[in-house]
Symmetry: C2
Subunit: 269 residues, 2 copies
């Protein structure tokens, strides 16, 4: 199966467009003491078990694992193994380096960890993106228009009348001969999502920023999926839902999944 | 000591502007068999011992460690410990993420590993840079104009007549209230280095791209250090010099250090 088929199958099998972002932040977990890595790993397994049924994808956020050094990376390795083969796996690392180094990152995320996709920064141009697109089974979501406030500082600046993020879409289309390049577009950018979807054709879009960041879920799901697939990522709102019990996490993931399916008029039975 | 003082002291103590990039690539080491991580760690210690005297800084390239997973990160942790306190330590990870994640990356590179500086991508704007500038003892080198061929695709595009990389310089100046923000400028961009140095004032500049990438050493050293400090990074040309013996590596590092000091007319005795 190629990249798009793997992605579509995960969506189909789970009747879900939900990506659960694994930003497991020890400061957000209710606890009397500071949690160690093994306790964070316990919490991660709890989240995975509570959400398996409702998620198409998992998106570990590298920052939250890396900050614990080699112990954190072991926890990441175990997490990926624990998730298993039934979900689409996205490495959220926003990697962006010259070809020689990017090839090593590609080996890291695709060969060592076995991720299906990785998030990549376009600042260094095509050299920094191509190594993640060479294997048709694997692919990259390139940062296009992000969900944060300061996205506008560079991404919305106009080059010959065209905003920088649109140049990124053009760059990605040019590099997309293996049909394995997607875009990251923040849910807080709903006013621009329709024109991005139009320009991007049927490229897959990864949409973070609903939930804690306040992005528009309805527009993200509907417009994002109007042509090609959009995965909607939710992190904090699911990970730390309610009283942080399995049940509270599960209820929240089911709620997101149901709402997305309602918007898409999918009967998930 | 604040960031600039730490950097200046490393330069002063070693009479060197050389940063040795630790891109330890198993495919480039002469060997009859594929090397494992412990053999790569041996090679890394050999490089460090052969270059300690001639380097101001070490710059581990995260890609080459990450690709071996937790075992690679243990090797990175041991490498940092082995280098010790006498050199300036740069984490070359080109990290670039939203504030919440960037803060975790800052904890990773500064608190867990103890690096002095990190390389950061500006695509997401100030949100993604600020968390690396909050502690005045630590700092960031922000990607400005990189050494690779496709740098031009976005970085040289003009916004209201001003190339994108100049907007990045302005952004960095605005964020530099702790005097701990620097720039990454490729040595292959020598025609633009003088104007970058002028616009950047005395911000430190990290210059990769001499050696294997063919950038201009003389211009990089002279123009880079005309106001403020420029560290010149060399990776492959030193790491895999000659017959890859301690002696060959040491001779090459001494040669770079001497040439840079000649250009700067420093008598290193």
């Amino acid at each position: 199966m190629n990249f798009i088929e793997t992605l579509n199958q995960a969506v189909e099998n789970h009747q879900s467009h939900l990506s659960v972002g694994l930003d497991i932040d020890s400061d957000r977990i209710d606890s009397k003491s500071v949690l160690d890595v093994s306790e964070l790993a316990d919490y991660t397994r709890k989240v995975i078990d509570a959400t398996r049924e409702f998620a198409a994808a998992y998106k570990p956020n590298m920052a939250f694992f890396e900050r614990w050094g080699s112990a954190g990376i072991r926890w990441l390795e175990e997490t990926i193994e624990y998730i298993g083969d039934e979900h689409f796996l996205i490495c959220d690392g926003k990697r962006g380096d010259i070809g020689n180094s990017a090839r090593q990152y590609a080996k890291s995320v695709f060969v060592h960890y076995g991720f299906d996709a990785v998030t990549v920064s376009p600042y260094m141009g095509s050299d920094a993106i191509i190594p993640f697109l060479e294997e048709p089974k694997k692919g990259a979501f390139v940062l296009c228009l992000t969900s944060n406030e300061s996205a506008a500082e560079l991404q919305l600046q106009k080059i010959d009348g065209i905003p920088l993020y649109e140049s990124v879409i053009e760059l990605c289309q040019r590099l997309n001969s293996n049909a394995n390049c997607g875009l990251v577009v923040g849910a807080t950018q709903e006013s621009k999502l329709a024109s991005i979807r139009e320009k991007a054709g049927d490229m897959p879009i990864l949409i973070p920023g609903v939930g804690a960041q306040g992005g528009d879920l309805e527009a993200s799901v509907r417009v994002g999926n109007s042509d090609g697939v959009a995965l909607i990522n939710v992190s904090r709102s699911i990970l730390f839902a309610g009283d942080q019990s399995s049940k509270a996490i599960s209820v929240k993931a089911r709620e997101y999944n149901n709402r997305m399916n309602e918007i898409l008029e999918i009967n998930s039975g």
